[in-house]
């Protein structure tokens, strides 16, 4: 065979270096070309990650046994010899950017699997990559400033699951910097400053949201084919809102990042919620940030450690039970005393105008009051059982007003009672006691002290937020409540108005552990009516106006853009088949009962819609039995389109 010259650029020689010219024959296979090339460069190094990229065809020459002829390569081909893994700046759901090596040659689906493996995120099929929102030029400068965590030194491994060390992948145990990165991945970030929230891009309409979903990368093609360059920024996000098999023990990073994505979705109003729900989300964020600072270990302990711990705990309990004497038992049963002079006001009783001072005594779940301390041995003037009552704060630090409003249920209705405390300390104690009482708990309950603590820290918040003007939070004691809610509420309420409302919601979650609080946050998020909807602006066949298609884990919905109403819902389980006509870029779906719909996509490529539908169907095929192996082939079959064939 005749030999001819093939020019190949070697990336490692630098952009300005001339291409290396080889003399090849058409029956030479790609592996042989690479061998010749490496010899000619005379550089000794590990070339194993390198491969040839054919620029005109936008294609990697990964089959080393194929000949140049088979690939159809001629002398005019512009070939580039470069590593398959290149660094990218990966923006996590938490908003933090990592620098790590991503695979540029495999389909994005596998690239994501590799990234998730490195970060220790299970169920990588639920995540994907998307192009970032273009920043205005001003912001670009700022991007350079931000701290970037570097993971490019992590060796590439192909093991399906990294071996764990201390509950984290071994590569994070190499150095203290690496451990710090893992901590960043697995511990929730502190609440952002209100200005940071305000500056972020917020989709203002369904159409804006639809544009975001037009940015998803194609899972069946590689990064190189999609124009992603070395050191480009890409976002890693949860794409399919069908979170399978969440196990807090093994899913530390997954849960943390999922929480971050949910939190930002709430803060940026990517998903709508009511004011009450927003306050609860705020309270949970506050609690999570507080607890994650005090017990950061909890999330990162390994499974083995957990088992050991729980074993030890149960042993302890057992021994306690066996060894404790009556006196010890009694000690633990003894509730702290709580009695003091307070003022009471009952709005409904005409006889008691204004606040009157009595000696109050808290017992079991009841409050009794007496004329004076001296008379507290006898019958109380009244005994109020707090069980099942509503407790609300009415506090104004500046005015030194510390009121506890009680709504006590009785057969005739609810009785309103106000208790007035003199100072912060007194208020925190009595408020905590009332809250416990309303839940049917006594002061002997172990949560009494922590309840007092949390009330005081909330009071502290109110104090600081009224004096300073929403500066970056210095400590958890002084979180600006504007950091916990979306900008809409920044305008509606001042921080000190927000504090009591969040505190109100907080009392229901204050006792949750970190994991439980994160799970609760996710549950409430998932229970929102619009949860899991990804929007695409489409044009239905036969319709003259744009409409929005909402893609959810179990259904498709058609939304009228004008009114915002859901016009129609189709569930996947009624779907017989769906087809994409790649030539006219139209998606056609047939449902049972002879229902046929067809639409073209306006804000996203129809491949994205195709992938969403196929992806959700794939998600629903996952089951316990085969939970450990990811059926990649099936995913591609369902989402690949013509390219997969």
């Amino acid at each position: 065979m005749a030999a001819w010259d093939l020019a190949i650029s070697v990336e490692d020689l630098g952009p300005d270096a001339p291409p290396v010219t080889l003399s090849v024959a058409s029956d030479l296979h790609v592996g042989g070309v690479i061998l010749k090339l490496v010899e000619k460069t005379q550089i000794k190094r590990d070339w194993s990650d390198h491969a040839l990229w054919w620029e005109q065809k936008q294609q990697w020459l990964l089959r080393t046994s194929w000949t140049l002829e088979k690939y159809g390569i001629h002398a005019d081909a512009r070939l580039l010899f470069m590593p398959q893994h290149k660094p990218v700046r990966l923006c996590l759901p938490s908003g933090i950017t990592l620098r790590l090596l991503a695979c540029f040659s495999n389909p994005v689906f596998q690239t994501v699997m590799g990234i998730c493996r490195m970060l220790n995120i299970r169920r990588p099929e639920e995540l994907s990559l998307l192009r970032p929102i273009e920043h205005k030029k001003k912001k670009k400068a700022k991007d350079l400033d931000e701290e970037i965590y570097d993971l490019t030194e992590v060796p590439l491994s192909s093991a399906s699951r990294p071996c764990l060390y201390n509950g984290m992948p071994a590569h994070f145990a190499d150095s203290s910097q690496m451990e710090a990165i893992y901590k960043m991945l697995s511990v929730t970030q502190p609440p952002p400053a209100p200005e940071v929230i305000a500056k972020q891009y917020r989709p203002a309409s369904v159409v804006d949201k639809a544009h975001i979903h037009g940015r998803w990368l194609d899972s069946s093609r590689c990064l190189m084919q999609q124009g992603i360059q070395e050191n480009d920024q890409i976002w890693l996000r949860f794409k399919f809102f069908a979170f399978y098999d969440i196990e807090p023990k093994y899913d530390v990073v997954r849960l943390t990042q999922l929480y971050e994505q949910a939190r930002w979705a709430i803060l940026l109003e990517d998903i709508d919620c009511t004011e009450e729900e927003m306050m609860l989300f705020g309270a949970l964020q506050y609690h999570i940030s507080k607890v994650s600072q005090s017990e950061p270990q909890m999330m990162s302990s390994s499974a083995a450690m957990d088992d050991l711990e729980s074993a030890l705990q149960s042993l302890e309990v057992k021994m306690e039970g066996e060894s404790s004497t009556a006196s010890e038992m009694l000690e633990t049963m003894t509730a702290p005393d709580l009695n003091d002079y307070l003022k009471i006001f009952r709005p409904k009783r005409l006889t008691l105008k204004g606040y009157k001072q009595y000696w109050f005594k808290f017992q079991d779940t009841s409050i009794s009051y007496f004329k004076s301390k001296e008379e507290s041995i006898g019958e109380p003037i009244q005994k109020i059982n707090l069980k099942g009552c509503e407790v609300a704060p009415d506090v104004n630090m500046a005015a030194q007003k510390f009121l506890i409003r009680l709504l006590i249920p009785a057969p005739e209705g609810m009785n309103e009672v106000y208790l007035r405390c003199e100072n912060e300390q007194q208020y925190a104690q009595w408020m905590a006691a009332c809250r416990l009482g309303s839940k049917g708990k006594t002061l002997a309950d172990s949560s009494f002290q922590s309840e007092i603590q949390s009330i005081r820290s909330f009071l502290a918040m109110q104090k600081s937020s009224s004096s300073s003007h929403g500066n970056v939070p210095a400590s958890d004691e002084s979180i600006n409540t504007h950091s916990l809610v979306s900008p809409r509420y920044h305008k509606k309420y001042k921080p000190k108005q927000l504090t009591p409302r969040i505190l109100d919601a907080y009392q229901n979650v204050a006792q949750l552990s970190l994991t439980d609080a994160v799970m609760r946050f996710l549950q409430i998020w998932q229970a929102l009516p619009d949860f899991g909807l990804s929007y695409v602006v489409v044009r239905f066949k036969g319709s003259r106006k744009d409409e929005v298609l909402g893609i959810a884990p179990n259904r498709l919905i058609r939304i009228d853009l004008g009114v915002g109403d859901v016009v129609k819902t189709w569930r996947y389980n009624n779907m017989k088949q769906w087809n994409v006509n790649w030539d006219i870029r139209q998606v056609a779906i047939e449902f049972e009962g002879n229902v046929n719909i067809a639409f073209s996509c306006v804000t996203a490529d129809c491949k994205i819609v195709h992938e969403f539908i196929g992806g959700y169907i794939f998600m629903s095929t996952r089951s316990r039995e085969k939970s450990d192996t990811l059926n990649e082939e099936l995913f591609h079959k369902l989402t690949g389109g013509h390219e997969a064939l």
Binding site: D272, G321, A527
Partner: protein
């Protein structure tokens, strides 16, 4: 802590019973009179005394269980006074229903014997005290302390006693109205869930145990009705009833309770047209349940409707567009969009329950009769804090009430459904099996064993398993079960008729032949305590069943058998019960048997009950009132019934036998001491 409390409570159980019977204000749901309680207690004592003797051998736990059983039996026997035998007891139990026995019980915890001497001592002391100063329970407590001091480290015990009081476990005797107008009465412990009570009622009524069986609370004054969820505790909502309340607890099938799991499409796809919903495939239904109840988060149907709202304190009804979300009910303010951020919160569900309103069209001039209400469970009378909502049709109302329940209770509803499905499946199998076994009427014991498992639920500590099954037979009231029952016992044909209420009374006779029959005959086995001799024995059997293992309750269920005694019982019941006990005791060696069973903890309470007897006198009146309702039915039954054979058997088993009259306290003391010594 809990364990500790429980232990103490066990020990002190007897004391508590005494004190409670005297002073506690039980909030009896159905029946008003507190007297009933007292009666029960007193009853317990007499029997207990006898049992105590036997107890010496057995362990304290067994005592506890026995006592409880005795109490039940005694209650039932209240009526029996005249007869003097235990037999009558059943009816009484029905009567008393209303009052609740608050007696606290520690029972379960006590089981742990380790608690040793101190605990035993305390328990003993209580009884003793009671014995000494029978009249005022409270006083009794003092004596106990003294005794304790003598024997044990007094200080600790005193403290413990105080704690125990705090930890008292409340018990109520509750009357459950059945569809046929009859009633069943059970003692319910505050720790028991509705599910457990339902299981006890299943055993008592022989119903088909399907998933629709429910307990409903009716509020007479507000014309409300609510189906309890199976995971709820029953006692707590009953305690909210006012003393003079005419509220009732119904035991009936409610389709709507689990409808969302049977036809989820009607709730989650409510917007679709009816035909599409009807044609939905089973696998799609399954998928819907999976999607909405088995994920990380429970999904609440996204309901939206124009409902009529009765404005606070006003008579008029105003229309508003409401939306249901997991976090509460919202409405769209005038001139605003339906966007989430504009919604105004109407209510959240933390402190509210949802009720069906009955006949609101005439009561409140509601636009339709399809109304539901949201209120704090403790509110029992008209109040501005009650939210009244009115729907255009029944479907909308059910949609909303179910949706609210899902939002409020979440996954518990689904778990309840699965549990009740299992129960239904098991019981159907069970009945099949049992029937055959029952076929051998004569051989009670074998059958019993087979059934015994079920009984396990009940206290059924009794030695003879067979009886237990018999208990079932007693229950017959529900027709369906009857059928089932019948088959097995070929011979009985004659009996079949008795079914319903009468059945209770009649059952005995009939029972023997049928499945029940086995029970009846065996009744003795159950030991319930009851004194064999008297005809009523059947009652006894019943009690055991009820008595669920859990310490507390136990068994008042005895209702069925007693009929005859009933008539006599009515007035005297409370006091009578005591007397009965005594009477019964003598003959009944059976009681003793009970003791042996080792049931567990419950015993204590029983013990407590014992002492009080003397004081009971006052109760009688109350009891009479309480009894009034039930009695009617019962009496007839009673008359019908006879006290068949069963009793005798029991007697045989009875351990203590005769002891009867002796002071429970002293007996207990002895037993305790022995035990202590052994340790």
């Amino acid at each position: 802590m809990d364990d500790i409390d429980a232990m103490f409570s066990d020990l002190l159980g007897e004391m508590d019973l005494l004190t409670q019977s005297l002073g506690q204000e039980t909030v009896p749901p159905a029946s008003p009179p507190s007297t009933n309680k007292e009666v029960n207690f007193s009853i317990g004592f007499t029997d207990q005394n006898e049992s105590l003797n036997e107890l010496e051998d057995t362990d304290l736990d067994a005592l506890m269980a026995d006592l409880v059983a005795d109490l039940n039996a005694t209650e039932e026997k209240l009526a029996a006074e005249i007869q003097g035998l235990k037999v009558p007891s059943p009816p009484p139990s029905d009567l008393p229903p209303p009052p609740t026995d608050l007696s606290t019980h520690p029972a379960s915890s006590y089981a742990s014997p380790t608690s040793p001497a101190s605990s035993t001592g305390s328990s003993v002391s209580t009884p003793a005290s009671s014995a000494t100063s029978p009249i005022p329970p409270p006083q009794s407590s003092k004596p106990t302390k003294e005794e304790i001091e003598a024997q044990m480290k007094a200080d600790k015990i005193k403290l413990a006693l105080e704690k125990l009081k705090e930890a008292k476990v409340k018990k109520l005797v509750v009357k459950f109205l059945l569809n046929d107008g009859s009633a069943k009465t059970l003692m319910v412990d505050e720790r028991q869930t509705v599910r457990e009570v339902l299981d006890n009622l299943f055993e008592k009524t022989h119903c088909d145990c399907n998933v629709d069986w429910s307990l409903c609370e009716t509020n007479h004054e507000l014309q409300l009705e609510r189906t309890f969820e199976d995971h709820e505790n029953l006692v707590e909502p009953l305690l909210a009833w006012t003393r003079d309340s005419e509220n009732k607890i119904l035991f009936q099938e409610r389709r709507e309770k689990n409808e969302v799991f049977k036809n989820p499409q009607n709730f989650y796809l409510w917007k679709k047209d009816k035909k599409a919903l009807k044609d939905i495939k089973d696998k799609d239904k399954e998928l819907l349940v999976q999607e909405n109840f088995c994920g990380t988060s429970i999904i609440v149907p996204d309901l939206e409707a124009v409902l009529h709202l009765k404005e606070d304190g006003k008579k008029s009804w105003k229309q508003r567009l409401f939306q249901l979300r997991a976090s509460g009910i919202y409405y769209v303010p005038k001139g605003k969009t339906k966007s989430s951020r504009d919604l105004v919160c109407f209510v959240q569900f933390d402190n509210l329950n949802v009720y069906y309103g009955k006949d609101f069209k005439s009561k409140y001039k509601a636009p339709t009769d399809f109304c539901f209400v949201l209120k704090h469970p403790q509110i029992q009378k008209e109040s501005q804090y009650i939210k009244y909502l009115c729907c255009d049709d029944a479907r909308t109302m059910n949609l909303w009430v179910t949706g609210i329940r899902i939002a409020k209770y979440g996954v518990s509803l689904y778990e309840n459904f699965k549990t009740s499905e299992k129960k239904a499946a098991v019981s159907s199998v069970w009945t099949n099996r049992s029937t055959p076994s029952s076929s051998n009427p004569s051989t009670p014991s074998p059958t019993i064993k087979a059934k015994s498992p079920n009984q396990a639920n009940g206290h059924a500590p009794t030695p003879q398993p067979g009886p237990i099954s018999a208990d079932f037979g007693n229950i017959p009231p529900p027709p369906p079960p009857m059928a089932e029952i019948l088959p097995p016992p070929p011979p009985d044909p004659a009996f079949p008729p008795p079914p319903s209420l009468p059945s209770k009374g009649s059952p005995k006779p009939s029972l023997p032949q049928r499945k029940l029959p086995t029970n009846f005959p065996p009744p003795p086995p159950s030991m319930d305590n009851l004194p064999p001799p008297p005809p009523p024995p059947p009652i006894d059997d019943a009690p055991p069943d009820f008595l669920p293992p859990p310490p507390p309750t136990s068994g008042f269920g005895s209702l069925p058998p007693p009929p005859p005694p009933m008539s006599s019982l009515p007035l005297p019941p409370p006091p009578a019960s005591f007397g009965r006990m005594d009477q019964s005791l003598p003959p009944p060696p059976p009681d003793p048997e009970f003791l042996p069973p080792p049931p567990p903890e419950p015993v204590f309470t029983g013990g407590g009950g014992g002492p009080p007897p003397p004081p009971p006198p006052p109760p009688p009146p109350a009891a009479g009132g309480g009894g009034g309702f039930p009695r009617p039915a019962l009496r007839p039954v009673g008359s019908v019934k006879k006290m068949p054979p069963a009793p005798p058997k029991r007697t045989t088993p009875s351990l203590q036998g005769g002891g009867g009259d002796g002071d429970l306290m002293s007996e207990l003391m002895l037993a305790m001491n022995k035990k202590r010594g052994a340790h």
